[in-house]
Amino acid sequence: MPLPDVVVVGAGIVGAACAREFALAGLRVTICDSGPIGAGATGAGMGHLAVMDDSEAQFALTSYSQRLWRDIAAELPAEAEYMDCGSLWVAADAEEMDEVHRKRRFYEERAIPVDVLDARQLSDAEPNLRRGLAGGLLMRNDAVCYPPCAARHFIERSGAKFLLGAKVVSGDDRGVVLEDGADIKAGAVVLATGSAITELFPELPVAPRKGHLLITDRYPGFLKHQLIELGYLKSAHSSSADSVAFNAQPRRTGQILIGSSRQFGVTDTAVESAMLRNMLQRAIEYIPALESLSSIRAWTGFRAATPDKLPLIGRAFGLRNVYLATGHEGLGISTSLATARLLADEILGRESAIPRAPYHPGRKWC
């Protein structure tokens, strides 16, 4: 059977991971983007490589993908800033501590290495957290990276042909058509465009969810782990309200990355003072010493959100050779490698390590 050519639309982390995966399988790949590699949500996010437990399907995808990231960590270039810092989910009170224990049971049953920290251990692990917190859950295998450089590495190593400044205006079973009128015929089309997918397929249930981030100057040793408040889940789950949740990450540079915020229905890319204010006030509640740190940049990005919080991975409904790889919300970096593997499996007719059905684009939306 002849190997099909693939054209990947979108050179963010998901598209780049796909290019890499398809090339590993011996496919000839062309990847295109209207802008530079990783200039969309990939460049705007936190680069967190996390395992999450909102649902079995989310757990399966994130844990499989994390294994794949850990397998290739050693080959990543220095600019990809891979850091094995772990994630610390912070519990503010007894109720959140119950959630910590529930998570521990969940993860231990599935062989994910975690530790429960009491208040004292939490304070030892992260002295800059405020006094009076209840404890936390340390996810030992979680890591962070700098995604645009990881994406670039994937594309360069794949040998794929990268078309910079090529904006795709339509795609179907024969290939894609660019804004300048040129067309690229391919055996398969993979759309990894993030929330812009609705420009090509307006009926897909993918909506942009705006987020803000802020980065500080260099303070080596200020934080050791990615920190997330347990209330993050309430923020991520909310379908309509604007929300903020404390999220902080040490980068290899010593800079502290502070998030997070979520808004629906806003497409303006401007940094909104009020959202930034709320987000930072929340962060200062957890880390009082943040207040006096020097902040250098703030920016926004748009996650691709779906109604059931799971991405679209697989053949597009009603088409034969068009595949979707989008809708990853806040877990695009984390699940990029598994997304690429599952998609390659489907295109090549291989069995996958985890069930593909929960992410299938044709699934029922209830």
Binding site: D217, R218, Y219, T253, S292, S294
Partner: protein, 77 residues
Amino acid sequence: MLIRINGRPFEALPHTTVAAAILATGHTAFRRSVSGQARAPLCGMGICFECRVSIDGSPHQRSCQIAVREGMEIVTE
């Protein structure tokens, strides 16, 4: 007035900026760049951030924009 740079006492005149005081006392390097190169003030007006030192325990202070104070503790990298 008396200030201390890296623990050693120096005399400084009032209305002198910290950057001028550091240079006047013969120090050449204010900080190390991310790859370890010695750096010192460039723009003199608070926009290049090469003059940053720690003042009274606070890091990343732009020394060209801050006047010396009696007893100030200055630490260069």
